[in-house]
Amino acid sequence: MIHPIPPGTRDVLPDEMRELRRLHLALIEVFESRGYGEVATPAIEYDEVLARGDGRTADSAYRFFDERGDLLALRSDMTVPIARLAATRFASAEPPLRLCYLANAFRAVRPQRGQMREFAQAGVELIGAPAPQGTAEVVEVLEAALDAAGLDRAVIGLGDSDLYRQLLTEFGVEGDARDSILERLAMHDLVGLEAELSAVEGIDEEQCATCVALSQLRGGSEVLEQARGLGGEVVERATSRIQETFEELRARGAADRVQIDLGLLRDLGYYSGAILEVYDPALGHVLGGGGRYDSLMKRFGLDLPAAGFALYLERVHVAQMEEESRKEEGAS
């Protein structure tokens, strides 16, 4: 008899499980060897607590009442639960705190898209280490994790999440127009972006062109110069932040696989400063991401800067498989 499971969930059978386990162990070993202690948190939390981390909470799609009538939610990532854990359990510990995890998280899916409702993430959180050193350390750990997974072609995009928010403030764009411009930027809908920008009163052609051109700048450190050429105090501040991080990475010999990307804009509400995205040429989807969230811990009563990343374990596994077969083809 066939008994169905909900779309966006899946079983893992022994062959795959064996490989996932190997990947899991390799990643945790990298994290542990760099001083990141593994933690686990409950899959269900009070909705109120998760909402404290990400005000929009749209991401935790599964909410329900318990027997006392309290509203519970399934976590949609591990960053917010770990912020909660750190503030509660390590409030008096000497920073920085280094924690890592491999855990399942849950998000709403669009029907018939093969998207996962439940997925595994592996990542680290570095709490209490400011930019640029803290960011650089997290990138280093991420690079070691990618190497351990055999993804030596993977590239890390480094951007700045405050750039466009501050740029729009400088332009005097507020309210709905601001939201919809940020949404176009996040989706990289350049046609829509131009239309939205030119519809806003008070934005001239040059400002519109600056915004569009900025979002297309990606590459080595030369793009920072190009960005500066586009002018403005906000751009100057953002490029300086990126440059500091990049130079810190260079000093550590870890800038090799980092691509500076002024078009990066992650849609999670708690990011501030540096943002990261991970790509592998073998896969059309993003492998993971992260960045800084210097104001997140404060919402839980522990005012510390923080940074981290999360890799989608299943996608890393797919990329690993693609890279392996590519190497075999190359060898034969």
């Binding site: 669009r110 898209r113 072609r153 590239v155 890390i156 995009g157 989706m187 990289h188 809908d189 350049l190 046609v191 829509g192 297309q216 990606r218 590459g219 080595g220 450190s221 030369e222 260079r250 800038a255 090799d256 696989r257 980092v258 691509q259 500076i260 990307d261 995205e277 790509y279 592998d280 040429p281 896969l283 059309g284 989807h285 993003v286």
Partner: protein
């Protein structure tokens, strides 16, 4: 100074860029734009039934316009050309929309039978219109936005048929010249959106093959504005 472009060279992307070319109404316009951009399309213009045309710098892959976002989102094609109507209908597909190519201009419209008041009548007396369309999501969003309730009937073939034999009160469809509507005794009642051909890119290709994607974007931009 390998460090300068290390992020890009690290990726060592292989093979020519893959471009998804839409068959159908946008086919000619796409080939013309590619020609001006310096991409040889002679083979595609022939009688070949082949789907993949390999070149030195670029591989052209032909497919239905509505499949373009699917292939590009997955990274099976790095970049592609398709209609805004397709992108709007599949708004949940994550592809980067880089350029409005301007050709293939059509209007998405609400149409009803000439002189027939069924649309208004249904709305007034039943509180609801029945709308047949091949674009259910665009239709749903449009009526939601304009505060009206409709029953959207998803049809695959000639949508003009639906109001003629009583399946629906009106249709939401793409209109180029308006001749098909006219021939079927239908007329435009409301314009929803103007659609043209768009150049789209896969998210990862846009990052890891940035130089190639940007170069092609510039060439296409010059081709359609020049």
């Amino acid at each position: 100074m390998s460090v300068e472009v290390a992020g890009l060279s690290r990726a060592k992307v292989e093979g020519p860029l893959k471009l998804a070319v839409p068959r159908g109404a946008l086919f000619e316009g796409t080939l013309d734009a590619l020609d001006v951009a310096g991409i040889d399309t002679a083979e595609l213009r022939g009688d070949s039934r082949a789907l993949i045309f390999e070149g030195d710098d670029i591989t052209l892959v032909t497919m239905r316009p509505s499949d373009v976002p699917t292939y590009v989102e997955a990274g099976a094609a790095d970049v592609g050309i398709t209609g805004k109507d397709v992108l709007l209908e599949q708004a949940d597909r994550v592809v980067y929309e880089l350029l409005d190519l301007g050709f293939g201009r059509c209007r998405m419209v609400l149409a009803g039978r000439v002189g027939d008041e069924r649309l208004g009548e249904s709305e007034r007396r039943l509180g609801m219109m029945r709308i047949a369309t091949k674009y259910p999501r665009i239709a749903e969003r449009y009526f939601e936005r304009t505060g009206r309730q409709v029953e959207v009937i998803d049809v695959k073939g000639s949508v003009e048929l639906a109001p003629l034999i009583g399946l629906a009160d009106g249709i939401v469809d793409l209109v180029a010249t308006g001749r098909t509507l006219e021939e079927n005794d239908l007329e435009v009642r409301e314009e929803i959106v103007v659609c043209t051909a768009r150049f789209v890119a896969n998210r990862v290709a846009h990052k890891l093959r940035g130089a190639e994607v940007d170069e092609l974007t510039l060439k296409l931009k010059a081709a359609v504005t020049g």
